[in-house]
Symmetry: C2
Subunit: 198 residues, 2 copies
């Protein structure tokens, strides 16, 4: 192994993967080279293509190689329901777990003035246009109930109110099967403050 | 996310990485697309190049993009010492941890007739040529002490004996700082059978 051999370059480059340190990078490199070159070559090609061509859907801001993502382009989705999430991965989770058939909007974060994240960074101007142009009857907020998340939710709720759109938020609390002693304190506090009459 | 979107293709392709299931593949894809496209693009390029160009060194059979790897091509390495390992990754470990300055030979496995792995599959003909052509004075076996590993070691030792080359093997036993109760039984048995007088 001379310095900067192609093998060492590969091991270094693999460290851009989340959670991959020097040891796992080496293990991955040897695995691909010795056992799955075809898979590695295919991954390399798709990855190059994806990094270049995947952009944000202009309607919902999720990741897509098309100007409109598959959900936004699907005429059978219910344009009356609009669900606001923080990250594209949350759309995948909702699509897999629920029968929600409305549309989405991806913020990409939460309002955080100190970090320079204002309404424009979250695309709230785009969301505002959608509330104006589209037949949205209910805006569902799936935003984490942190301080910044709540501020973001309030900001969006105010905007929706100006357009006469009903705003709801998904329920937060102890997960199904979650044992109380293992649930984090914030969730437990939320579950108590959000208690309902039987 | 329509079926077979470029994003889904990327998530599927990432599963060729060892230990990466559907959830981590998704996490990696979003991480690269949202936070490190430049790193992802560089990785894709190097990976494509590596899968295509990295082959086996013709002298030691380790992975290299050159016909001769950096170690084999280095005239300052001691050609009198030849260390036989099972995998290329073991060369990296030995180079990092020891001051060994000899040369290597990579088997790529162990003799296993039932799996169709014979002397040729391990390149033992190449090793034999080296013992004949090169000034090897000591052949060091760094082969794991399993049944198949021992059979492989014996086969190589016989071949070395025919060329009048001294054969040694690295010590196996309880690792430094290893607490006996946590060491696996096979290692502990080896440590006992390999005990030396104080
Ligand atoms: Zn979209
Ligand atoms: Zn070599």
């Amino acid at each position: 192994m001379t310095e900067r051999s192609l093998l060492n370059q590969l091991i270094d480059a693999l460290r851009c993967l989340p959670g991959v340190g020097p040891k796992s990078a080496q293990r991955i490199a040897f695995h691909l080279l010795e056992r799955n070159r075809e898979g590695g070559a295919r991954l390399a090609q798709i990855m190059a293509d994806a990094m270049l061509r995947i952009q944000r859907c202009r309607r919902c801001r999720t990741l897509s190689e098309h100007e409109l993502c598959g959900i936004c382009a699907n005429p059978r989705r219910d344009a009356g329901l609009l669900c606001v999430v923080e990250q594209p991965s949350e759309i995948v989770a909702i699509e897999q777990a629920t029968d929600f058939r409305g549309l989405y909007f991806v913020l990409g974060g939460r309002l955080s003035p100190l970090d320079g994240i204002g309404p424009d960074e979250l695309g709230l101007d785009v969301l505002e246009s959608r509330l104006h142009d589209e037949p949205v009857s209910e805006l569902i907020l799936a935003i984490s109930p942190t301080v910044e998340g709540s501020a973001t939710a309030h900001y969006i709720a105010d905007s929706a109110a100006r357009h006469g759109v009903r705003v709801t938020r998904i329920a937060h609390g102890v997960p199904l099967g979650g044992e109380l002693e293992y649930v984090d304190g914030g969730t437990l506090a939320l579950a108590f403050s959000g208690r309902r009459a039987l």
